[in-house]
């Protein structure tokens, strides 16, 4: 059921109908019991009346059972319709039919000697009251057909059903109207949202909302805010990226113009060399922008798992070995023998590690050293240190170093200002952290720490 209104209507109508039906059933049952009681009393009364009548006739001259026509005529001239439906039989105690009213069947109404009884006659059920008159040696039986009794109860129910049938649609209409009225705040909010343009992410006004709708609108406004923030981040990121790409593009264009304009072979060769390295640098910048976008894209958070980072450290280091060799930097890897477990997302950790090791190799002086050490402190915490013996980062610039596109005074020619931003974001998304410390006498120690969860799963 997707429509709230249909659902409410269904519940209310079913509920009302159920209440009505049980009320009807109750009325039916109690009416029937009441009717039984009253009719039983009438039966008894009628039987006694006939009994007393025949007793009186007996004393009268010329009376007797022979004048039964008058007797039954009188019986059947009873004013009320119901009483006309009564049947009366008079049987002698030895089992002969002395007389009967016109409506009474030929067959003996009851085999009971006295009091109330039920009997089947011609497939119909009769309720019979029998009075024994030992003086006249007769039994008076007055009975009525249960079908007639049921008809009476049925009339009562029918009398109630008609108003019900008339009132129920009115009731349904009222329910429908009140449901609509009750849901109108939702409609107002919906209409407000429907009339918006796609880019309109202003919050929905929530001044006069009922308590039940306010949380929904609150949540909606929260979502709007998050979408707006994400969009803003995207916008500034795009602007930033476009801006950062302009400089290398301008450099490439300038060098290309120089190559075209100059006949000097040295100038020519230099320009082409610059273009070549410029393209490398720009490609790296683009790759890092994509990495950053990939880190940011997954809003739900990465799928973190517990794993051993040792293999990853080795593979990143060996991938960067050629770069280190070309710069005559020695790159060493230290990994403990015992297996480690940390909370990580392998792609994110690889991204962080690659940027750190690349930074270390690029900042180490020619003939210098870069190292990568994975270690486990006595308290079980795992950390990953990437060190170099380059110039480090000026103390004043340390807090800024992880800002996007920030390039410190000791930057490398290849630097885009994105590497540390990527590392920090990747670690943040894994619940870890990046810490930058200058080494003495010079160099940088970049350490990665991981979320505690990793140790918990290791235990």
């Amino acid at each position: 059921m997707t429509s709230l209104r249909a659902r409410l209507l269904l519940i209310l109508i079913t509920g009302t109908a159920a209440v009505w039906l049980s009320a009807m059933a109750w009325i039916f049952l109690s009416t029937r019991a009441e009717v039984e009681e009253v009719l039983d009393a009438r039966l008894m009364e009628a039987a006694r009346m006939v009994n007393s009548l025949i007793s009186e006739r007996r004393q009268e001259p010329g009376g007797g059972l022979s004048s039964k026509d008058t007797l039954f005529g009188e019986f059947e001239r009873q004013p009320r319709a119901y009483e006309r439906q009564l049947s009366c039989q008079i049987w002698s105690l030895d089992g002969a039919l002395v007389g009967r009213s016109e409506s009474a069947p030929q067959i003996r109404l009851s085999t009971a000697e006295a009091g109330f009884s039920l009997s089947d006659i011609d497939g119909e059920t009769w309720r019979v009251f029998t009075v024994e008159n030992p003086e006249l040696n007769v039994r008076v039986m007055v009975g009525d057909n249960l079908r007639i009794r049921d008809g009476l109860v049925g009339d009562v129910i029918k009398g109630m059903l008609l108003p019900t049938v008339l009132v129920l649609p009115v009731m349904i209409g009222l329910i429908w109207l009140s449901v609509r009225q009750g849901l109108s705040p939702l409609n107002t909010v919906a209409a407000h949202l429907a009339s918006r343009r796609a880019r309109d992410l202003r919050p929905v006004p929530d001044g006069k909302l009922p308590r039940e709708v306010a949380p929904l609108v609150g949540a909606l406004n929260g979502l709007f805010k998050r979408v707006e923030d994400a969009r803003e981040r995207e916008r500034s990121f795009t602007a930033f990226a476009a801006h950062e790409l302009k400089t290398p593009l301008a450099g490439l264009k300038t060098q290309a113009q120089i190559a075209l304009a100059s006949d000097d072979r040295d100038v020519h060769a230099n320009a082409l060399r610059q273009i070549s390295s410029g393209v490398d640098r720009t490609a790296r910048l683009v790759k890092q922008l994509l990495d950053l976008a990939a880190l940011e894209a997954n809003d739900a958070g990465p799928k973190l798992a517990s794993g051993d980072p040792a293999a990853l450290v080795r593979s990143v280091a060996s991938a960067l070995e050629p770069l280190a060799r070309s710069r005559e930097v020695s790159l060493s890897v230290t990994v403990p023998d015992a297996p480690l477990r940390v909370t990580m997302e392998p792609h994110f950790l690889e991204l962080a590690l690659r940027n750190l090791v690349e930074n270390a190799v690029l900042h180490a002086p020619t003939g210098g050293e870069a190292s990568c050490e994975l270690r486990r402190a006595p308290d079980g915490r795992v950390s990953l240190h990437v060190r170099d013996d380059g110039p480090g980062i000026a103390e004043a610039e340390l807090p800024l170093a992880t800002e996007r596109f920030f390039r410190g005074s000791n930057r490398s020619a290849l630097g885009s200002g994105l590497g540390l931003a990527i590392v920090e974001l990747a670690m943040e998304r894994m619940g870890g952290a990046l810490r930058l410390v200058n080494r003495t006498p010079h160099g940088l120690d970049a350490s990665l720490t991981f979320a505690n969860r990793g140790e918990d799963t290791a235990r």
Binding site: A261, Q274, A413
Partner: protein, 221 residues
């Protein structure tokens, strides 16, 4: 014409230095606000090409410091941040021109020539003196309508002399205009260029003022 280039991107800096050098400028290159400040205090420039985003601050700070010293050295801002408000802010801070990246090298050279020229109070690009005519844009020279083949440095010396005819230009001034920091200046380099120029222009054009410098010969001399 000597200019200072302030730009932090190494490829861009190399491109500007070489490219503007090809266009006839003598270029000094620095890549931080601090270096730009020292260079501007140590040396007079005909123009400055200034990038806005520098590692140790904004180019606007360099500009502000320059203007605070009452220097009217023409400044051209060169930046990737080239939205209208950025341009307005730059020009209002005392810049003479504003060029967004990426740009055309020839256009940039022309704009630098234009601001340098206006800095010296001239509106026309062409330099003329008697029958000599110089076209800085194309580095071409004519004498009596006939083309004159000059090297870049000879052209620079001649235009420096022709900018203020009759005024003595010292050897130091010529060296400043011809050689950037990185270039080795041989002790008699200026004399050699003057010698070649005299050979091409004929006698009676460039006068030597003994012990001081050079100037264009006065009318009728």
């Amino acid at each position: 014409m000597r200019i200072l280039i302030v730009e932090d991107d190494p490829m861009m800096l190399d491109g500007l230095t070489v490219g503007l050098g090809l266009a006839g400028f003598t270029c000094d290159a620095v890549s931080s606000c601090a270096d730009a400040g020292s260079a501007l205090r140590a040396q007079g420039y005909d123009a400055v090409v200034l990038d806005l985003m520098l590692p140790d601050g904004s180019g606007l700070d360099v500009l502000a410091e320059l203007r605070a010293r009452k220097s009217d050295t023409p400044v051209l801002l060169l930046t990737a941040r080239d939205q209208i408000p950025d341009r307005i802010r730059g020009l209002d801070a005392g810049a003479d021109d504003y060029v967004g990246k990426p740009f055309d090298l020839d256009e940039l050279a022309a704009r630098v020539r234009a601001i340098a020229r206006r800095g010296k109070g001239r509106a026309s690009a062409r330099l003329e003196w008697r029958s000599l005519s110089l076209e800085p844009g194309s580095l071409s020279a004519t004498k009596d309508g006939a083309p004159l083949k000059l090297t870049r440095r000879e052209f620079s010396i001649l235009s420096l002399l022709m900018e203020r005819p009759g005024v003595i230009v010292t050897r130091a001034m010529l060296e400043d205009a011809l050689y950037g920091w990185q270039e080795e200046v041989e002790s008699n380099a200026v004399e050699v260029h003057i010698h070649h120029l005299r050979a091409k222009l004929g006698p009676g054009v460039i006068e030597t003022v003994r012990g001081v410098g050079y100037r264009l010969a006065e009318e009728g001399a």
